[in-house]
């Protein structure tokens, strides 16, 4: 902060004022929605859905054959 000149400080103050105007939500509103979004999306996540994991192009199926 100390190295800022007057113009930079003015910009900084303006930015803080703008941030104060920012419309905030309670975490009791935003976090359940975020959690819900993640839960719904988990079915499509190749790392988390075993059915998609089976078809992962990066994972070679075993080349060994039992005779």
């Amino acid at each position: 902060m100390d190295e800022l000149d007057e113009t930079q400080l003015k910009n900084h103050v303006d930015s803080l004022k703008q941030q104060l105007q920012f419309n905030r939500e309670k975490t009791s509103v935003s976090l359940p929605e975020l959690t819900k979004w993640i839960e719904e999306k988990m079915n499509e996540d190749p790392f988390l859905n075993p059915d998609i994991l089976k078809d992962n192009p990066w994972v070679e199926s075993s080349k060994c054959v039992i005779i």
Partner: protein, 330 residues
């Protein structure tokens, strides 16, 4: 003159006082709305089961530290840049090198794939962001087609195309971010606001793509690319943190006493449930974002992990390291 100096000092003093009181007020506002913790919300959610993830490909070819990488939207090509000044385009699936360019500078800290897959952008200590069109002819001299797009007054730390090949967003050690027109090299918009080196930036995952986050000095960040309402940071203090943009605050810290080395890069799985963090102790930690627990530690790299990026379809993630290699994990 003396009078003027005094007046100026006073203005600066007033501004500093004002900024301090505004900051306190901001903290107060944020505190008011923090009425529940993430782990409380996630209490009833099932924990993740056992987690197996292995190195599926190793990309060798860089002569020095790998500093940055980006996926092509085709989900198999990768561009990576290194301290030795080389930029390589890989077919990660076959591990073949498709193109290689030597930049006129060392420490190529930023590289990005164009959305069309027809060009890559990169830069570093040259303070520039250059775009190289890619052609099917592998013997073609890419350096001859180089186009200097962006110019900063200090090193380029990060770059990203917006949703088209036409515009590129850059961040720099000069403390600014800027949006450029690729064709003309014209500066479209400059973003000031940081009072230190800007080390990273990431665009929100919306179609219009008109918001982005940027971070300074010790924290490398990556936007929550899945839904765009939150982002995560990895930091020198060995922690990763989750920030909720709607609540305008930090909502989770991912740390353990046993993790003492800084996290240089983070990214989310497709759903955002997993957070991958590359660390300076050569490991990659995988976190359950909702429960705040570590679900896996991945070993393999023989030096610092400098970058981690999940592929566009979420089937794999790539890590780049100071051991000169990149690894694909799935």
């Amino acid at each position: 003159m003396a009078c003027q100096g005094l007046a100026k000092g006073e203005t600066i003093h007033t501004l500093k006082v004002e900024s301090e009181s505004l900051k306190a007020k901001l903290e107060e506002e944020r505190g008011k709305l923090h009425d529940v913790e993430l782990h409380q919300v996630a209490e009833k959610i099932e924990a993740l089961g056992q987690f197996v993830m292995k190195t599926r490909r190793t990309l060798k070819g860089h002569g020095n530290k790998v500093l940055c990488m980006d996926w092509c939207r085709d989900k198999r090509r990768i561009v990576s840049s290194s301290q030795d000044g080389k930029v390589i385009v890989w077919d990660a699936y076959t591990t073949n090198k498709e193109h290689a360019v030597t930049m006129p500078c060392t420490w190529v800290m930023a590289c990005a794939y164009a959305p069309s897959g027809c060009a890559v952008a990169c830069g570093g200590l040259d303070n520039k962001c250059s775009v190289y069109p890619l052609s099917l002819d592998k013997n073609e001299n890419l350096a001859a087609k180089k186009k200097s797009v962006a110019m900063h007054t200090n090193y380029l730390s990060s770059c990203s195309f917006t949703n088209s090949d036409m515009q590129i967003l850059t961040s720099s050690g000069d403390g600014t971010c800027a949006l450029w027109d690729v064709e003309s090299g014209q500066l479209l918009q400059s973003f000031h606001g940081h009072s230190a080196d800007v080390l990273s930036l990431d665009l929100a995952p919306s179609e219009t793509g008109n918001t982005f986050v940027s971070g300074v000095r010790s924290s490398k960040l990556h936007l929550y690319y899945p839904c765009g309402d939150a982002f995560a940071t990895g930091s020198d203090d060995a922690t990763c943190r989750l920030y909720d943009l709607r609540a305008d605050r930090e909502v989770a810290i991912y740390s353990k006493d046993s993790i003492i080395f800084g996290a240089s890069s983070v990214d989310f799985s497709l759903s955002g449930r997993l957070l991958f963090a590359g660390h300076n102790d050569y490991t990659i930690n995988v976190w359950d974002v909702l429960k705040g627990t570590r679900v896996a530690i991945l070993f393999g790299h023989e030096n610092r992990v400098s970058t981690v990026r999940v592929s566009p379809d979420g089937t794999a993630f790539c890590s780049g390291s100071w051991d000169n290699t990149l690894r694909i994990w799935a």
